[in-house]
């Protein structure tokens, strides 16, 4: 095959179909015990001064969306200062897409006893 960029290959509908089939196959091969999910959106609910789930493992490229259900303001601040929200009032959302593998701890700056962790692992 001629030398084209991976993006160009993926853009082609035929190769896109192959890519989808291969992705599906790799998920099946990974098995039911793998906690990592394919690139998608994961929601973390903020309620009763806690994050649910507090610990989450995701695949690179996943977007995490936090939704505040409390009647109090909360924030999402990365302990390594890699991401951070402004004040989130009731029903506000904050999202961040995690591209690189690693462990990302975060805290609510208003209530520092509220903490969570995102683990990013290649599937």
């Amino acid at each position: 095959m001629s030398f084209r960029s991976k993006a160009a290959i993926a853009g082609s509908s035929l190769w896109g179909l192959w890519a989808a089939l291969l992705t599906g196959a790799s998920l099946i091969l990974a098995g039911p015990t793998s906690p990592a999910r394919a690139a998608e959106t994961v929601t973390i609910e903020i309620g009763n001064y806690s994050f649910a789930p507090a610990d989450v493992t995701i695949a690179p490229g996943t977007t995490v969306v936090w939704v505040n259900h409390d009647e109090m303001v909360h924030t999402i601040i990365s302990t390594d200062h890699l991401f951070g929200s402004k004040g989130m009032d009731t029903d506000d959302r904050y999202s961040f897409t995690f591209d690189k593998e690693g462990d990302y701890g975060y805290v609510c700056s208003l209530h520092p006893y509220m903490t969570g962790k995102i683990k990013v692992r290649r599937p």
Binding site: E71, T79, D89, V107, S109, P112, Y113, T115
Partner: protein
Amino acid sequence: MSRKPRIPATRSLVAPPPFRNAMPSRRQALGCLAWAGTGLLWTLTGGVPRSLGLIGEARADQLPAGAFTFVQVSDSHIGFNKEANPDVVGTLRRAIGDVNKLDPRPAFAVHTGDISHLSKPEEFGQARELLQEMQVDRIHFVPGEHDALDEGIGGYLKIFGQGPNDPGYYSFDQNGVHFVGLVNVTDFQPKSLTKLGGQQLEWLEKDLSGQSDSTPIVVFAHIPLWTVYESWGWGTADAPQALSYLKRFGSVTVLNGHIHQVIQKVEGNVSFHTAMSTAYPQPKPGEAPAPGPLKVEAAELGKLLGTRSISVVPGTKALALVDAPLDRSA
């Protein structure tokens, strides 16, 4: 008087010569002070408590020469609109009205933070406008954690600070009393109490080194400078270091906010007082799963919100504190 207060004001004023030190015992003094609920104004002259009557009835000629009063307001949370109080602007206006009725007139006010609820510029702006209705010469501010949500306290400093290099903490002198405003809402770590931080502690030690032991010190900061309830973040991890610099002074009064209720403690020459909010009440330590806004019957709300007036009388160690709820029983 319709003159609008200067906001912000963090310059030091020139202090007059220190006054004599005449003593009631601290226990006697505190027995009459920090009266919460009916707004009874006491003062001390030569160690004997004298009632100046109810707030609004006391007369200026009954205060000893050189004495002055200032006011503490706290936790106005402009921007909050949930069930615990859908009208925080209204309750702040009532609090300002109470301050404007005080006689003798307070010299200035101190706001111990959480001015806004979400650090939004329009919330800071609205708070500033409302507080200009308070008939005092100036209001001194320190930020709360709700004021630190826009590039830390950057958003707060744009409205209440003194320029881009303002660290937010400062001191000033008034009538022989040394006032120190501290910031304990920017240094947060997971599962830990907040901190003042090394830089601020260094500044504090240097700032206090110029004061004589007999100068009364008033320290104000948003989060309590003693551990009221650790699991709710009601305390400051490195406050003991700050208190070690204050140990040599004969009279230290610490004024805090954050917990939306009055809790007080005395340790040697240091008395600590947290204040009511003008926005919404919070539960007592441990009496709820979390320190969230406490919903109460509408008729009860005004009894749990309020302001504080503090009188300084030359020749006495103790300051006279009066906590005045918005709704006072007869």
